[in-house]
Point group: C2
Amino acid sequence: MTIVTRKQQESLQESLQQVVRLLDRHRVVEDMVHRQDMAKHELVEQLVHKQNLVELQKKLASLHPADVAHILEALPLFDRLLVWELVKSEYDGEILLEVSDAVRESLLADMENYEIIAAAEHLDADELADLVPDLSSEVRSELLGGLDDEERAQLQSALSYTDDEVGSLMDFEMVTIRDDVTLEVVLRYLRRFDELPNHTDKLFVVDHEQTLKGVLAINRLLVSDPDLTVHDAMATDVVTFHGHDDVGDAAQAFERYDLVSAPVVDSNHKVIGRLTVDMMVDVIREESDAEVLSLAGLKEEDLFSSVWKSAKNRWPWLAVNICTAFIASRVIGAFEETITHLVALAALMPIVSGIGGNTGTQTITLIIRGLALGQINPSNSGRLIGKEVGIALLNGLVWGSVLGVIAWLLYRQVSLGVVMMAAMMLNLLVAALVGILVPLTMQKLGRDPAYGSSVLLTATTDSMGFFIFLGLASVFLM
Amino acid sequence: MTIVTRKQQESLQESLQQVVRLLDRHRVVEDMVHRQDMAKHELVEQLVHKQNLVELQKKLASLHPADVAHILEALPLFDRLLVWELVKSEYDGEILLEVSDAVRESLLADMENYEIIAAAEHLDADELADLVPDLSSEVRSELLGGLDDEERAQLQSALSYTDDEVGSLMDFEMVTIRDDVTLEVVLRYLRRFDELPNHTDKLFVVDHEQTLKGVLAINRLLVSDPDLTVHDAMATDVVTFHGHDDVGDAAQAFERYDLVSAPVVDSNHKVIGRLTVDMMVDVIREESDAEVLSLAGLKEEDLFSSVWKSAKNRWPWLAVNICTAFIASRVIGAFEETITHLVALAALMPIVSGIGGNTGTQTITLIIRGLALGQINPSNSGRLIGKEVGIALLNGLVWGSVLGVIAWLLYRQVSLGVVMMAAMMLNLLVAALVGILVPLTMQKLGRDPAYGSSVLLTATTDSMGFFIFLGLASVFLM
């Protein structure tokens, strides 16, 4: 007997490379077939062609659905759809769940309605709920018709929550037990299952009304005396969630308390579902991805979507940027006369605005992170402002002086150096204040502090940088 | 019996607020005591003072160590150390593990050697390994002396790996079994434990040389016939890791295959440790944090560290920025004569450089993310370059025209509009190429593609933006 040990990431990269190689070979043969207009050797090449695809199919069948999903993400659209055709249909549903929203869209667009419905048949209600929003109303109603009453109720319950509520990620499969039986009975009861729900690390102890009374950890069940009652072995200090709790908060709780699963209860404390760590890991990954992307003004984007589609994804931010750049440009325009008198100002002004933007980005990044981790609150934000202002003053003094001296040496004008230093100091102050107040205000208004904050920041540091520097120059140097 | 249900995030915020309130009250009393120079009411106030601290201590004792860690992160240094004093010492070790490196440093600095050693006594070898690098050599050797042979060997093994290797996060506690016994025997064997190691969702099946032969999932153990042998019930298709595997890759494997724990083996396939999902969640969080911070040129920073310390953390990047800003400034300096002739150029040039920087940031963010997720490889990078160049040309055409028209309308000069459009188009091309090639090259050189990429990007788009725009202007408009 041999153990298939997957040294995972490497073998996944290898799988991806193998798929790409097979696709390439397939393409070469296809090219030959086309070029020769299906003339001689036709039969042979057709065979080779088929053989490549068979090999590819075999390779794909050997892979975990999550790996297939990963490979689909990494393939350009044409290849992606070819591979998607070859995947065994029974895994379609799982793979659709694993890929990112952008890629899922491209896969669904290529599927017939009956294929989608076939793929969805293998999914649980909570998984279906993930998929349903992406389906046409036609497919959706057909799907709903095919469910039994319990599944339909579960699906509707899951759909009644928004994407960022715990209820939307709830698993409905779980094992519940009563507290008056012995562990021996529990062990016997479990043996009647074909398998336990994934990530079952605890059993939920409920009364006859499904009200949660505690949890029995599987590990406790295994080490305890079988004659003990559930009541004596269970834990009553349980981390529970409500359907409307924020998923990000739930993920942080999983992280903090090292949870594998946790019950979701309604307002009467009845168990309505279960959260599992695999979902929470996905939430953490997605939230951090979204944060990085939104700092750059992006939504999730399929790496291999068309130029047109990607361009549209990036345009909203670009349009905003053009407006802010235009405003900054008009600020400079107002000082054109000053610049004509002293053209050195044109060369020095981007230093003031650029460094303001960069220090502000540092501040804003730290603040956004502190907010996301719940470390910043009204009681300490004053102190943070103080600290950032302090840093801005220190930096303004140190680096402003350095740049002031450089400006003086370059242009042999002491007053220019002094203006440079003063402008740096003031713009760093502006950057610090904007960098801290913008995300705090966003948060207070109930908006995502990451999204758009950095546009607002650089817009301000640019315009203010030019205004402060050129303004000081026209007052003191003209 | 009532169940303590913690609606977690909220109650944590409440705890934090409560602690802050108690600290405030404590401070008020202390101020009074000081102001009155310990005169009358002395006794009463001393009592109130004490009472506050007792209440605070009680509150802290009721919290999970991870929550105490969270509160410590959110407190300014002075309050943090006060709270730290009040925390029950038996949890010190756990809390030190939970806080960020920056905060840990501030806490350790406040502890006596014997306190550190007492805190470390409650930790396992793999946890100690996390802490040891932050300790003075004195404390370290004393600690090592207090360990038994097995623990010392484990600690040294853990320390022999670098921070980004799986071995450094390995847990040494695990349950191994033989494959020739029945499940009944396994169940009886488990009952001899006081408790199972955390996150035990599978038992490792080994031979007499500790060579891994398979795993027995706990959930399988529970549902199977007790008369079955381990051999018949175990799974042989096991995801395993090696000590030198990258932790990020391991975390991605945990994410993809929804693992709770996995064996770590040596080159002879002997089990040497275990990875658990809680560690991997921390890795995912830390990696994404590091990515966000390194995009802004930051290292992890204690939100409440001193101005001086924070400033030093931000200076390396600031220094680089000042150099690149200086270079861009000199590029403009070279065209001072051109600007004197046509001062409109000074007002328009930041638009060209700024928008180049922003579109480049979008590209670089997507590429860095694709690299981190392993979606970009040599076979598809060509296609990505093609796509980004396509987007740059499209954007250049569309937005370049818009800006060209605006420039024309503002300054009533058609040729200026044409130069503006051409410069935009070229700088967007530069931005796209730099945005894609810089991270790819970094990755090829084995370096972190996020760190410093965006400095290099904006440095290029600034300097090139000014050069292209002013260069074109001096050729075609003078």
